[in-house]
Symmetry: C3
Subunit: 154 residues, 3 copies
């Protein structure tokens, strides 16, 4: 087992979580490679082999556009999120690529202070080395009940 | 502190979680030694020193029977689970055995897409080395309100 | 990256969580340095730069007093808590001090067995080395809706 790599990937996931939870959304694209892909889908779709994602963005410009739209629409402001990441498992693909799976939980705190379980699921990532950025982050949500339009990046 | 051992045990807990969350229940017995014990109890019972577990299985054949019954009864199909594991603390018992305690949280996703907090508690494990299998996994649930019969392994 | 330090800090957070979840509140002050500070605030207050904490205690005697009051009031008895910690990020300040941020989630189990999401937020810590105790633990809660008086330490 590569101890350094395991902790480096966990640290990447942690930095990603803190950036979102601190509402530093403009930093979100920087966690991806230049051509990095971000895909949100549901476990149901995955199980049925349906290729249609709930959300798809590829490459830094498209990721930045997504954040710009969110900021412009101003729809996410009153909420706050809290990401928990657990059970990170690595599998090295090549010298320049490592695959990671992890479980996640996202809590959403509403304007009135109520906290609800917003999303849970699995991150399936391909991470470019040595720069430690996501070449691909697939977010597989357990539930099909979540409002994509309102959602900040998971 | 033994860095390698800490990460190896965390990896065992992670593989266990992903196997259950991916509905690969047939792999569940493989996480235990040949005579491995699986016990579910409640914090209340533990605090009172009541020996009666909510569920008990010992040895691979009994663990496999439990999965076969679940599959046959077909009662768990519509649900999905998501395990979060945290705060893993190790204590080495001998060269061939390490004790681990950890906190867990299980989310259950119902057929209608609703996600609920299904169970929380503590794993108290004895893990055989170097094969890294559970000689004993005691699942101490915080709440006494959970439907054992319907439950997949925690 | 300092692998040993990362795991040592995660172990500190884990021991802290287990002490609280096992109702060993008398051990809580020991996790702090002699002059250690414990502060609970809300994300809203932090964002607005409001210095007023929800709760503040400084130094081991004051921390012990807080536990004594809780024990005397006997108000926390029927509840049980479960702490989950995730996304631990370190930044070394000096040879004798490391800063840590981490996400947390606290589940509260009521007397009737119901489990609710009690609090979520971020730990912002300064940890004294090599003794690995909190010089400062700031608990930034996402929600402003929590009953401080009833709360055990987060």
């Amino acid at each position: 087992m590569d101890v350094e790599l395991q902790l480096a990937v966990e640290r990447l996931h942690a930095r990603y979580a803190h950036a979102l939870d601190s509402d530093e959304l403009e930093r979100w694209p920087e966690f991806f490679t230049a051509k990095g892909r971000y895909r949100v889908t549901t476990a149901e779709n995955e199980a049925r082999g349906l290729p249609l994602p709930v959300l798809y963005a590829e490459g830094q410009p498209m990721l930045r556009d997504r954040i710009a739209s969110l900021r412009h629409a101003n729809i996410y402001e009153p909420q706050r999120y809290r990401h928990m990441v657990s059970a990170v498992l690595l599998e090295q693909e090549s010298a320049s690529m490592v695959k990671s799976i992890a479980n996640f939980l996202v809590i959403r705190i509403m304007e009135n202070g109520e906290a609800v379980l917003f999303a849970s699921g699995r991150y399936v990532d391909r991470i470019a080395l040595p720069e430690l950025r996501y070449e691909e982050r697939i977010v597989i949500c357990d539930s099909r009940r979540f409002d994509t339009l309102l959602a900040i990046p998971l």
